[in-house]
């Protein structure tokens, strides 16, 4: 074989090797691209599905745990506040029957009537109270009347209602036409104080 022929054959082989290399490498590139695109598409589906299911799951599990726990916390707080309320009721009950040597309930009753009259700004008022307080008031009405007239510097006329109210103590006071009513019962005042201090109590007790 001549040298020229050998050179030709070598050239053919070199060209062929190059072309084969190109064909395979292009195929490999294309294959890589196909797989990459498939992975991207699969990941996109995965992300979309997983994130929407996770969102629901998070809301269901964590949201419920948080909600249940908060509910229990609020219940515990309310139970404590209710306990304080009940203790206060018992103390007021004791005071109203004269069970506390340091507190003169009759003085307080007179002050509750005074506060009601001062707020209503009426000369004549009707008083409702429980059976026990009515008994005391019926005996002492004139004395209280003159004491309040002196204190408020005007003539005050007190009348005791035939109605008896079921309260721990205190009074409901109104003018004869019943257009102005002042609830100064112990329960009424306790509820107002509780409302007023509820938030402060919460902060003080549940730091």
């Amino acid at each position: 074989m001549s040298e020229d022929i050998k050179a030709f054959i070598e050239e053919i082989n070199r060209r062929t090797d190059g072309e084969i290399k190109k064909i395979i490498s292009e195929a490999e590139e294309k294959a890589k691209k196909i797989i990459k695109e498939a992975e991207e598409e699969a990941n996109k589906i995965f992300q979309h599905e997983a994130s929407s299911r996770l969102k629901l799951l998070r809301r269901r599990i964590l949201g419920k745990a948080e909600m249940d726990a908060r509910k229990e916390l609020i219940n515990a707080k309310n139970e404590i506040l209710e306990k304080i309320y009940q203790i206060s009721i018992k103390k007021l009950e004791q005071i109203a029957v004269g069970g506390d040597a340091d507190i003169d309930y009759h003085d307080i009753l007179t002050r509750l009537i005074e506060e009601a009259i001062a707020t209503l700004d009426e000369g004549e008022v009707i008083i409702e109270a429980n059976e026990r307080d009515k008994e005391y008031l019926s005996v002492n009405l004139r004395k209280i009347e003159s004491e309040l007239s002196r204190k408020l510097s005007r003539n005050i006329k007190l009348r005791l209602s035939n109605n008896t109210i079921d309260v721990l103590g205190g009074v409901i006071v109104y003018n004869p036409s019943r257009t102005k009513i002042y609830n100064n019962t112990l329960e009424g005042r306790l509820n107002i104080v509780f409302q007023k201090y509820r938030n402060i109590l919460g902060k003080f007790l549940f730091k």
Binding site: I45, L57, I61, A69, A76, I87, L205
Partner: protein, 103 residues
């Protein structure tokens, strides 16, 4: 002599064509395999199985997290439940004084 040389060259050229044809077939095979693999990757059932597995794992993690949240609240609830009666009495005294209008 010339005839022999030409036949050698033709044979070399034919051999080259054959090798190229084989390479093209191999390339087709590479792409076909890739397409099959891609089909497998995009198989919705397989993706959903992966999603389920992932969600199951996440659910376990979220349940542990939920327990921690609940426990942290429970500690607070216990503290509240254990507020001593003396403190409740103290507060009640203040409230009663306010109700009665006593300084």
């Amino acid at each position: 002599m010339i005839y022999t040389s030409l036949s050698v060259l033709v044979e070399a050229e034919l051999n080259a064509m054959k090798r190229i044809e084989e390479a093209k077939n191999k390339a087709k095979m590479i792409i076909k395999e890739a397409e099959e693999k891609a089909k497998e990757i995009k198989d919705i059932n397989k993706i959903m199985q992966r999603v389920q597995k992932y969600v199951d794992e996440e659910e376990k993690r979220l349940r542990r997290e939920a327990e921690k949240i609940y426990e942290s609240y429970l500690r607070e609830i216990e503290e509240i439940k254990n507020i001593p009666l003396s403190k409740l009495n103290e507060i009640s005294d203040m409230i009663v004084k306010e109700v009665l209008g006593i300084e």
